[in-house]
């Protein structure tokens, strides 16, 4: 206590803080960035491992056999999506029913509160439930694939082969006796704009999203896999984790996907970065590659925008990821088999689960596919960043005290300077005015800017607050 109340010690602290806070803030700001880069290097990041014993990925033999009908499905869908923008609902329902699944569809229409879109976004989701034969259906896994149609396909690539594979896998799984979880095949329209299965499932009401009721149900969703497969052949899978507001799935799910891709000889990458090769490692511990991957991971999280429609599941506490196939340049060969094995493996591994994913990390950043930086490590640079506003606040407080002392020079030392209140009141009023502006401005901001980013209003709001904080931090550190 002596340190805080002793006027002598206080003076020393004041002196130190006031003389150093400006360069210290800048230094800490730069230091944070450097620390993040260093933390990403292979010197600090730890190897990923499968923490959940129940998963046992890749232990079981592959049984999936891709049949000729996978090509039939894909060709039909390609033909449709070239001409039409709408989901071939009737065909999807019929095919799923033929396979033997309980098939349901849901219509929705989404209106935007701020965007001046000419009409509501309308669409249909088709989903089919494969009931696990030997259990009460208390748990489920979702296999979701976005259906894009003509317009979106040009922008984001085709997913028709994914849907064909989904049907082929459903055909395979329905003959198996080992399922402990229902598999919900979900093909959905309109990407982020529409209704996600999670919203439908948990019946979250929204003023901006009207949807028809869900007639079929399964158990608690334990995990969701989203597949974006552009064609028969892919160069590699890019695994996408970042969800809404930067949420991440459990690291075990990612590890399982990476392990199974590796087993099938399909390269898996994260933000374009696979597991570091020896030559890459020799180059300053691969810091060039790892820092780039990690920073793009953090940037994506900071944007709050999901990196695939799996991100919409994460807000319901359902671990989910997207397997995004990067199209191969060569057209030869058919990889449907190995891709089928990867998905079969992931589903069987998740099928082994006894509890929700909980063993591994929820807070992490990834420098590559086989290394992770845990929260304990990346919080150090974050802590350095948080020191800046603290020092700034302290310095401002000391400066305030100094000014008041200059005015009332007759005040005896040791007593509280009276004039301080006069200086605090304008600050308080200013802060409240700023607060009012902050309170009123989001609507203005969302209406004007969110269309540039193509964000739903709720996310735009979060983004806006985040950018405000960012700029505030930047300004105060240079002051």
């Amino acid at each position: 206590m002596g340190l805080m109340t002793n006027p002598k010690a206080q003076k020393i602290i004041e002196k130190v803080v006031l003389s150093t806070y400006k360069p210290l803030s800048v230094l800490l700001y730069i230091g944070t960035f450097v620390a993040i880069v260093i933390v990403s290097s292979s010197l600090f990041s730890a190897k990923t491992y499968i923490s959940e014993n129940a998963l046992l990925p890749g232990l079981v033999e592959k049984q999936y056999k891709s049949t000729s009908d996978i090509n039939g499905y894909a060709n039909y869908l390609e033909g449709i999506s070239k001409t039409d923008d709408d989901i071939p609902m009737a065909w999807l329902q019929q095919t799923f029913e033929e396979i033997g699944l309980d098939t349901y569809s849901q219509n929705f229409s989404a209106s935007h509160p701020f965007l001046n879109s000419p009409e509501d976004v309308r669409g249909t989701n088709v989903f089919a439930i494969l009931r696990a034969p030997r259990i009460a259906g208390t748990e489920a896994v979702v296999f979701s694939i976005p259906y894009r149609g003509k317009a979106l396909e040009k922008k984001m690539g085709s997913t028709n082969h994914g849907i064909a594979l989904m049907m082929s896998l459903a055909k395979h799984f329905i003959q198996q006796s080992y399922l402990s979880k229902d598999i919900i095949s979900d093909s959905r329209q309109r990407e982020y704009r529409g209704s996600s299965l999670g919203e439908a499932y948990y019946d979250t009401s929204s003023d901006f999203l009207a949807k028809s009721p869900l007639h079929g149900r399964s158990g608690t969703i334990m995990a969701a896999i989203n597949l974006e497969l552009p064609g028969r052949r892919i160069d590699h899978f890019d695994l996408r984790l970042e969800g809404l507001n930067g949420q991440l799935p459990n690291l075990d799910l990612f590890n399982v996907a990476v392990k199974l891709c590796e087993k099938e000889g399909v390269k898996a990458t994260f933000h374009g970065q696979g597991s570091l090769t020896h030559t890459e490692l020799r180059d300053n511990y691969g810091i060039r590659y790892t820092s780039k991957t990690m920073l793009s991971n953090m940037l994506r999280q900071a944007s709050g925008k999901p990196h695939g429609i799996h991100g919409l599941f994460l807000r319901y506490g359902i671990p989910a990821l997207t397997l995004h196939g990067i199209p191969s340049n060569s057209k030869k060969g058919d990889q449907s088999h190995s891709i089928g094995y990867i998905l079969e493996g992931i589903f069987r591994s998740v099928n082994n689960l006894l509890e929700r994913f909980h063993q591994s990390f929820f807070f992490y950043v990834l420098p590559e596919t086989k290394k992770y930086v845990s929260i304990g490590l990346y919080m150090i640079p974050m802590g350095m960043l948080l020191v800046i506003p603290t020092i700034q606040a302290l310095a401002l407080w000391f400066l305030l005290g100094r000014k008041s002392k200059n005015i009332d020079k007759d005040e005896p030392i040791g007593e509280e300077p009276k004039g301080q209140h006069h200086y605090v009141i304008p600050v308080l009023i200013g802060v409240h005015v700023c607060g009012l502006l902050l309170y009123l401005s989001p609507e203005f901001f969302v209406v004007n800017f969110s269309s540039y980013f193509g964000l739903p209003p709720t996310e735009a709001l979060v983004d806006w607050v985040r950018s405000c904080l960012y700029w505030y931090n930047l300004i105060t550190s240079y002051k």
Partner: protein, 418 residues
């Protein structure tokens, strides 16, 4: 002076020889009686087989126990004398691609969950409490006989446990664990209640040896699959089922037991050589210090089989006089009164009479003491000079003291010297 000296020397040597011979003959006699007494001291065999872990990925523990169950059953222990505890039902697990079966080998030759399996405690019934209650017999009166371990002081009991363990504990059901001290006390109580004759305790888990380090009751053999600080590993994966299917130690123990028949002369010494490091990838551990018999003379079938001894009595047993209750320690059998031997010989006796009876000197001690006393007597007698009386008194005093000290020492060590 020369003549009496020679006489005394002769007498002395004679005494020494006589004492030696008498001791030697006594020793051989003791060993013979012991041998005949301990040979096949049991009249019935029991087995308690416990799998303590749940969950699909622990499939191998269920396979371990079920394989062990089939081995002991093949060697003659009936279902009524096997307490089988399975914490999870792998056969009906929805994840099992081979429903209604459990295999212990990737070739899937034997369905160990096929016909004729009687599970006594299944699922959540397998708890530390129920296990200890089964061992100690402290079950509620409503418990059916099939769920009781109805052993007596002539029962050889095989206790086999498998699951996930650590240093000094074994996990039960993912929510509780049994400590090695609790287990030791359970066996202690079994001994006090005359619930076993001999026990073979086998445990296949990580750091298995720690489970029987705390045992203190007699007649227990302990076998563990790994030393403290070591992991016990699984043997192989069945990729059709997608799980690790059996543990290394149990796999090789079964391989050994496969060759055993009811008439095999293999001993526990051979069983202890099962699964060396190059097979197990962990060092198996044993405990024999509590066991009375020489393990190289103990047949494997004494525990794994049910080879029953028949006692032929030459005298008539008046059945009407047989006391059925066990409450009295004293039991009257025709031809005299018999007492139960004390269950814990290391326990110090309370009254002095018992103390005197129980002191058993080691042979070396008796020989040394006899020689010393003889020399002392010779010296005393040879001193005829009265003026040396003072020295005599002193010598005899010191002798007495020596004897007392030796006796005290012998008494202290009486239990170990036997």
């Amino acid at each position: 002076m020369a003549a009496p000296c020679a006489i005394w020397k002769r007498i002395l040597s004679l005494i020494v020889i006589v004492v030696l011979i008498s001791h030697l003959s006594l020793c051989t006699l003791h060993e013979e009686t012991a041998e005949t007494f301990f040979k096949r001291g049991h009249t019935n065999n029991w087995a308690v087989l416990v799998c303590t872990s749940r969950f699909w990925f622990n499939y191998r523990h269920v396979a371990n126990v079920l394989s062990m169950y089939h081995s002991v059953k093949r060697l003659g222990i009936p279902d009524s004398q096997i307490i089988l505890m399975l914490a999870d039902d792998m056969a009906c697990n929805p994840r099992n691609p081979r429903p209604a079966s459990v295999f212990n080998n990737a070739y899937q030759h034997i369905n160990v969950y096929g016909d004729n399996v009687e599970v006594d405690y299944r699922g959540y019934e397998v708890t530390v409490e129920s296990f200890i209650r089964v061992l100690t017999g402290r079950l509620p009166p409503s418990t059916p006989r099939s769920k009781r371990l109805m052993t007596d002081d002539r029962s050889n009991v095989l206790v086999y446990m498998t699951g996930h363990g650590g240093d000094g504990f074994l996990k039960f059901q993912d929510s509780e664990e049994i400590s090695s001290i609790e287990l030791a006390d359970a066996f202690g109580q079994m001994w006090q209640k005359r619930r076993y004759h001999e026990v073979l305790y086998i445990v296949d888990t990580c750091q298995a040896v720690s489970m029987f380090q705390q045992f203190y009751s007699p007649n227990i053999l302990g076998v563990g699959s790994s030393q403290v600080g070591e992991d016990s590993l699984s043997h192989h994966v069945d990729s059709a089922i997608g799980v690790y299917i059996i543990d290394r130690y149990t796999y090789y123990a079964l391989e050994f037991l496969e060759k055993i028949t009811t008439t095999s002369q293999k001993t526990m010494d051979d069983f202890f050589k099962v699964c060396p490091y190059n097979q197990c990838h962990s060092h198996t551990g044993y405990r024999t210090d509590l066991f009375q018999r020489d393990i190289s003379k103990v047949l494997v079938t004494d525990f794994f089989g049910s080879v029953r001894n028949v006692e032929v009595s030459t005298s008539r047993l008046p059945l009407s006089e047989v006391n059925h209750t066990r409450s009295k320690v004293e039991t009257k059998v025709s031809g005299g009164t018999y007492y139960y031997v004390d269950q814990f010989p290391s326990k110090p006796a309370e009254n002095s009479e018992d103390k005197k009876q129980r002191v058993q000197f080691s042979n070396q001690f008796i020989i040394a003491n006899t020689i010393f006393l003889a020399i002392a007597a010779v010296v005393l007698v040879s001193r005829r000079n009265i003026c040396c009386l003072y020295f005599d008194v002193q010598l005899s005093m010191s002798l007495l003291g020596n004897v007392l000290v030796c006796e005290g020492y012998a008494m202290g060590n009486a239990s170990f010297s036997s």
